[in-house]
Amino acid sequence: MSSANTASLNTATHTVAPRRARKGTSERRGGYWWYILPGAIGFLAVVAVPFGMNLWYSLTSFRGVGDPVFIGFENYQRLLGDPLFWASFRHSVVFIVAMAILPTAIGVVVAAVLFNYISPKFGSKVASFLRATYYLPQILPIAVAGVLWKWMYQPQYGIINTTLRDLGLGGLAQNWLGDSDLAIYAVMNVLVWLQIGYTVVVFMAGLSRVDPALYEAAELDGATWFQQFRTITLNQLRPEIAVVLITTSVAALKVFAPIFVLTRGGPGTSTIVPAYFSFSNFFTTTKVGYGAAVASVLALMISVVAVALLRYQTRNSEGFEDGRG
């Protein structure tokens, strides 16, 4: 799903609040099962059964036609020796930098500047307006963002190269997406552009819950803006930073649409990612069993990150709930 979806993971814990056992409800409770039936059937049909089938395919040699032939863990073994597989996960790390680490670093500074500096000096309307401009790329379908940037990166008439030439810097003009050394940076740039809005919005919301007295006290003590940022803002935003880092890392592991639109994994394999790698195994080279193995490994990695998130949140909100009594 889209990058907006990065907001979606972190909702686990409130639901599992302690329940009081109520007298006489156990009988009544039975009837509630009817209400979960549609969701359960949907889950079985759309998630559980397909995921099981995917696991089964990953243990077979299957080219999309005929019947899958069981070959055990051969696909996985082959995967470990496949340089493409390793390249795709190396690129995942690069995209975690582009989608998680850089946007978080930029977002926390921008949010703090907007909230603690621009808003008091120039009013909250100015800050909200700027926040909206940063957020705007988030609403675009990623495919549209891809077309837009592909056009700007175009070597002959794209805006980046024409501007460089107009400035007399024609020597710096590059075939941004067509050069296998540069393409990954060009894609990273698009992803950072897409993601900043999300982090700014979340961090500004986080700051609104920080007690202003903290800043006022620091100011009385003569702390500079930067000192306040380091000691108060970063500390107070720690939960948001952790959640954002994990959710955006999950999104980075899943990244597909920008790659499909901008580079299709190329030039060569210089921007291939696991999602695109499995997709091309499924539908281009029709090595379905192999693609299924890639997808399964990806699912495993994402689950590990997601469980980390869940544990972090559970720990945090338990503390929170204890505090409330």
Binding site: T11, A17, F115, S128, P137, A143, G291
Partner: protein, 300 residues
């Protein structure tokens, strides 16, 4: 509590009233204040820049682009690139497809979420923790790990390349998230209200329809907005499951463009603009809801 916390992030849209100490400072903007404002505004312009050049070039005659490049303002307004693109890919059709698919997914997903969350949050059925963990799995799992089986299943069921197939699949996937959200809201639903309804002899379904539904409407509105936009922007499953041009969504139609039109710069600008416009309309309509929704997850 959670019902409150859903409403609370709205406060971040209009930041909290400033304490008086800050109001005094507000007049002291100083040189450094303006420098910082210029910096953040500059970054804002950088973010908007792609939008801006898509707009100015979409209305530029092709010779103008060749002669003056992408930065200059158009010398005359020329809608031909936009009109050509619109007609060339039958963009009305794609818009309609996207509206039908996104609207159906949003409605069905919210309905599914409400039913499941009612059982989990109000009914407190046994094993709800595990059920929720499974639902969480449904929206963390990469779609690549589902796509080939879904392709096979929809083909065998005659749902391949039909909007119905995609609607059902996306509705279920998104309702997993909705169930999560709504369960947490309903799990903290005021018990007195439910008790009172039961004493009045309300059936379970009446409780759902007459008590729970009206009180959770704001949350469901946020969810529905998000489901609509996620579906609108969704790329991977529609790309695989809706191959024919007649069924394509806006996102897929544009994504599939890469490669085409490479020799026609204004056509690409027009295509980008066509993709931006609907998104921009949602943004203007739902800005508050969007911001609130983004925070819904992250702010605890």
């Amino acid at each position: 509590m959670a019902v409150d916390s859903l409403e609370k992030p709205a406060a971040t849209v209009t930041p909290p009233s400033e304490p008086s100490a800050r109001r005094i400072k507000r007049r002291k903007r100083g040189v450094s204040g303006w420098v910082v404002l210029t910096l953040v505004a500059g970054l804002g312009l950088l973010m908007l820049f792609p939008f801006w050049i898509a707009i100015i070039n979409a209305f530029k005659p092709a010779p103008d682009y060749i002669a003056n490049g992408p930065v200059s303002l158009p010398t005359e307004l020329d809608f031909s690139a936009l009109v050509d693109f619109w007609g060339g890919v039958d963009f009305n059709r794609k818009l309609l497809n996207s509206v039908v698919i996104s609207g159906s997914v949003a409605l069905i997903a919210v309905a599914l979420s409400l039913l499941s969350a009612f059982a989990i949050g109000i009914g407190r059925i046994r094993g709800r923790v595990w059920i929720l963990a499974l639902f969480m799995l449904a929206f963390t799992i990469p779609q690549e790990a589902l796509v080939y089986p879904l392709f096979v299943l929809t083909r065998d069921l005659g749902l391949y390349d039909t909007m119905t197939g995609v609607i059902v699949i996306l509705a279920v996937l998104q309702s997993a998230f909705g169930t999560y959200m709504l369960s947490s809201v309903l799990g903290t639903f005021p018990p007195e209200v439910l008790e009172a309804a039961r004493l009045d002899g309300a059936t379970r379904f009446q409780v759902l329809r007459l008590v729970v539904l009206p009180l959770t409407r704001p949350t469901m509105a946020v969810l529905m907005t998000f489901f609509f936009i996620w579906t609108w922007n969704d790329f991977f499953l529609p790309l695989v499951l809706l191959p024919s041009a007649d069924n394509q969504t806006v996102s897929v139609a544009l994504g599939a463009l890469s490669g085409q039109y490479t020799s026609d710069p204004t056509a690409l600008a027009a295509a980008s603009l066509a993709g931006i416009l609907p998104a921009l309309v949602f943004f203007l309509l739902f800005q508050r809801t969007l911001m609130r929704g983004v925070n819904l997850g992250a702010v605890k």
